[in-house]
Point group: C2
Chain length 394, copies 2
Amino acid sequence: MTTYEKNFTTEEYQRRIDKTRAAMSVKGLDAIVVCDPSNMSWLSGYDGWSFYVFQAVILTHEGDPIWWGRAMDALGARRTVFMDDDDKIRGYDDTYVQNPEKHPMTDMAQLLAELGLEKARIGVEMDNYYYSATAHVVLNQALPKASLADCTGLVNWQRAVKSEREIEYMQRAARIVEKMHEHIVEIAEPGMRKNDLIAEIYATGIRGADGYWGDYPAIVPMAPSGLDATAPHLTWDDRPLEIGEATFFEIAGAHRRYQCPQSRTLFLGEVPTKYLEATKAVLDAIEAGLEQARPGNRAEDIANAFNATLNKAGFEKDSRCGYAIGISYPPDWGERTISFRRGDMTVLEPGMTFHFMPALWLDDGGLEITEPIFITDTGHECFCTTERKLWVKS
Amino acid sequence: MTTYEKNFTTEEYQRRIDKTRAAMSVKGLDAIVVCDPSNMSWLSGYDGWSFYVFQAVILTHEGDPIWWGRAMDALGARRTVFMDDDDKIRGYDDTYVQNPEKHPMTDMAQLLAELGLEKARIGVEMDNYYYSATAHVVLNQALPKASLADCTGLVNWQRAVKSEREIEYMQRAARIVEKMHEHIVEIAEPGMRKNDLIAEIYATGIRGADGYWGDYPAIVPMAPSGLDATAPHLTWDDRPLEIGEATFFEIAGAHRRYQCPQSRTLFLGEVPTKYLEATKAVLDAIEAGLEQARPGNRAEDIANAFNATLNKAGFEKDSRCGYAIGISYPPDWGERTISFRRGDMTVLEPGMTFHFMPALWLDDGGLEITEPIFITDTGHECFCTTERKLWVKS
């Protein structure tokens, strides 16, 4: 039995913790209780599909973080976190699980008190999927002398600039998504059931590429056709691919929970003029946006350049055209920090990673041609080499 | 272009709404704001991977429900909900998306006021993944004259007894998970990389069975081996299957979002005596539990019978051994209502559906042999015909 290979060195986790503590100090926080599984993993290494029950990583200003969760998941924590000390892994009794009579946050409150934090100022991620309104009420009631403060996004922002190792994992994920797209163009044909195509996409992604195994994407593959593709987030059924329809493929390669999303669109049959025009407009606008993707520029510069070029060609997009990416768990592969849109004044730094996602949803179909990128010392690099064009098969 | 086939008739949605309204009346609620995607889908038909942004179904005591979400997802709502009236679909501006400056719940508050609910008693799902602590604070502040009450689980409980059509979808999902298990036994062999096996499991599930397409499971396939299998929720990597190790497969077939989970365990090589003993104990205990699975009995009766038989054989399980299942979205395929455990006094009724999940996690490996079941008029039926035993390949 080989031991579980940790994804990062203890030194890397320590650097992350140091950055996070500095951000905690700025906010005057004695401790944070982190329930976002991406943040938990980034701080501790914890990796498991157990986020449907309450769990957290507690970080104070001293010592290693503490993993807290359902008792049966403590063993998974033991096998994945970087902390050696068993005292840093705390499990709660199974009777707390999905039981209206007993909320796990009462157990969390006891643990925080045991750590001497009953009067502390404690950050909680109030606007996160995995910290509910009830969790907040229960924790507040159980720790009446503590002061709970919102720290939504505090850890997410520390994740924005990636380490070399993180970039490497995303590059491996990039090889995987390239291969997924290649395979789609190869096998998609009129009459093929959509779910059969999705099965192939999944299998290709999980087999991996270049010898690197594929992890699960934080969002399932999306591949709507025709009018369904006017809506961005419909998943598949068994309707066959048809001549005269565009299908967009919004998919991600994943490796060790790092996500590399990329979209392409496939048209079966003869492409209508409007589609060709839209494609040209998007490709030109992508070029204009990418020119702005360099250190020192702002996130909105990319959006503004993209939109200006797109509008000149007579097309409009009223949603953001990109967001930060990295490590992620369902339901989202974005980091929920930086967006490419007017008003986002975040200054781009080397090591930041984004999904530049200039999708267009037209009246009669969708068009998605997107690029995962990272900011370099002097500009940017696209993670993928997938040919940037509308694919056509007739 | 075929139109999108609705999963249920309008009459069925109406019956669900009637049941839900009765439960609202008992709690004195004028309206509910339902953010759980499973509840949203069950009440309205909405289906899309858009639950990483705020969205809801609003139900009052009159008229059709209202779908509310991100503007770009209104098109997906139009294509999936049963409500014909466009006024029943309300989208909010993209600038509300993942923007710390603007919370979507302020838009929700405006809509509730427009509906005449600014002084109403409104139920919200306070302990749900998709209604955050911040959402609750913002909604409270934006509707100072309204009274927000917790309605966590209110809709989930209405889902407990399934309609014929729902059972039919779960039976289709059962055919799919049977096929997934068959395929695993066929192809698993020493040296096979775990991710390659997972790729096959995914592809088989999504291709479907008996002509029915496979939807995505609400939890990814779990298939840990050896010591990793002592922890229930670790996902895969690329380590090869090894002789002398057990691997459990906790997987689900899915059809039109209805989930049919089932687990089996595969041992490669000669099975140690302890494993054989544990298997026999679990199989006997399953029989004892199933004997209690009939209308009029209580949920705890199944757990108590299971545990008594298991303990007699010298094994212990300190977590619940089953839970309600049905329609579901990530991160959980359970309904978060009924659990098979001591103290759950829910009376079993015909049409209730469960994952009887008597998994054992031993010191040196895991053992999962589980059965999805439904309660009939006189007893129960297992959804699947998968042979109930420990699989061994040598």
